[in-house]
Symmetry: D3
Subunit: 145 residues, 6 copies
């Protein structure tokens, strides 16, 4: 997975490209949902997390999603965002099994309820993907040999 980098882009353009690559439709839905209440915040969301942070070369997107999925699961206050990032993890190369490993590991650091609720989020995302794609598509059991 190549880090995202293009010196001639604006932060906003770079963020839009990164969001599309990482979060796909789920991320774009978040941006659209801000249009009528806080359009400037949609811009900040594209610029800082995606245009600045995710576009940095120091970690692969796969590694960045490992950290994010672990953190959101441990915090336990961000179910919608955890679901977006479970999808994002699949988009940037994590398998379902690897995501389950990350969530299970959080039982050590944030307790069993945090891990159980994270696994519940993963179950919901995996079921939605199977329903959207049929079970043979990206992120399904076939990815996991």
């Amino acid at each position: 997975m190549n880090p995202i980098d293009n010196a001639t882009e604006t932060r906003l353009q770079r963020g839009q490209r990164a969001l599309a690559e990482i979060d796909g439709e789920a991320g774009e839905a978040v941006v659209r949902s801000l249009a009528d209440i806080a359009p400037d915040f949609a811009t900040y969301l594209l610029e800082f997390p995606f245009g600045d942070i995710y576009s940095r070369p120091g970690l692969s997107l796969r590694e960045r999603e490992i950290a994010t999925i672990g953190a959101l699961c441990a915090m336990g206050t961000a179910r919608p965002q955890l679901e977006v990032h479970i999808r994002a993890g699949l988009n940037v190369g994590l398998t379902r099994e690897e995501i389950v490993e990350i969530l299970m590991q959080m039982s050590v650091y944030a307790g069993f309820p945090a891990a159980l609720n994270g696994l519940s989020a993963a179950k919901a995302v995996f079921a939605a993907l199977d329903s959207e794609n049929g079970p043979d598509e990206v992120g399904s059991a076939q990815d996991i040999s």
Copy 2:
């Protein structure tokens, strides 16, 4: 990084081996500190997090530490454990720059104070390592070409 696995070991033995590999002296100091107040808890700590979770094959130790460092930084309630796992991250193959990337990324999910306090923990660990080892040793700037 090979996952830790040896079917003939007990959970406790496997946990002790994993703790030594991952956390080194810092982890053993935690276990020793429990001896007079909660010795059974030292056993649980070796058995469940290290003997069960970190010994699973589904993620590399490097990847597990990415998730743990992200989570502990985001939670903001576990400074001593974050310091132990910053050392552990270096032990299992993360560079200082990669750890700094993880901590910076947490500003997006848990806010700037969480990231700043995580970077403060990293700064303290890196300074302690330079003082212990001299700056040419494991985890120092020389690792990062």
Copy 3:
């Protein structure tokens, strides 16, 4: 906005008056919901937060709601109460735009998920108010010139 103060009232009476002024119907619904499970707790809720704290003269109610909306958004564990206090903020003089500013600002201190979830709460409250009142009433866009 005058601070609430009347020396001859009991704490309970003062709290009831402050609750009615600040939270209106939404606050009274909370009190009613406690009647069959924890009636004493309804009394404490009226007496301490409303009779003691919100009735103090040191800050305006508008300023108190700025602090509360910021805190509940940042904590991320109190969605129902955040919605009550978004309504309360409108009742004591904050505009929708000012509430959105507070919620956006929390991205800095508690991360983007906390801010996004706070904005989602605001969106739900604003939509409910428009549905209850029609869009020309208290707290609607017309307040914000």
Copy 4:
């Protein structure tokens, strides 16, 4: 309430027995829900919390549930688990009134929203029990003389 102890059992067997005694059907539903996504985690859940911790003799199950209900209410990030443990508390000898006392007390340590949300969880559990059992059964008002 006798602590759970049987030296010839495996941890898993002891955990299954403790789960059945403490959480009853609600706990077994949690274990079943893990079967298709993280079956190993169901094993860990039985072994460590129930086989190791709840089976220790140092506190009664009633006292352990007091600590757990207080903690889950205060954390505010574990509504499903709080509901399971409110049922568990009733199973191991707490009355509805005692559970309400614990939840009310959490207003002091974690704030009124945490207590209100805990009381809301209790209200949902009590209503479900009344619906399942009729109001004359275990944990209903009749238990409280």
Copy 5:
């Protein structure tokens, strides 16, 4: 342990008596520390937590401290208050071993770091008590038959 109750007292008097019984000198030090910065808050602290909540008859003080120690350990943001309540637990009849059990149990709900930091607080309190009293006094190993 009799619940605290005396209908002719004011809430403040009842709170002062409860604080003295439960927290002893450590609680009075908290109250004194507020004198120059927020004297009204010292009054609220005596009135609501101690005069209202801890004085209720529905749970014993020993049971209330089980809930509080569990909650403060799990929250992980209240080290000074956790230390005060570990002392308070010993004052109202918990043994050191029972307190260690509560703290260990929190590893299940809030993770190993929360439990480890709670045990560290207990170790500090027990050492301070041994230093103040000599090891034969209240709360020492001799209490635990």
Copy 6:
């Protein structure tokens, strides 16, 4: 207090100006502390929180600090940042008494320990200011008539 706005500045310049106005020397010390470990993060800190958020016109700086002090006190995981923002609050027009009101109010939403620890932070900041300035300077009791 005029909002900060100057269309010809870069985000970084605007952030530096806002940081100097709001946080003064304490903010600049945070930026300097990042120079050797994460210099890019110092840039992000100036650009996003200060260049983007605090420079928006929708709330006064005084109101923004009310929200931030409330949030940091309630979160309980950001003592160093809470101290910086208590100083910042004084810089942008809050009195010591108003800051104490905000912190006391957080007992309602985040519990008494959060409020007590916030008041402890305020006490430390006020004492440091009195030591730096003598008691007649900005933010001292003389401000509060």
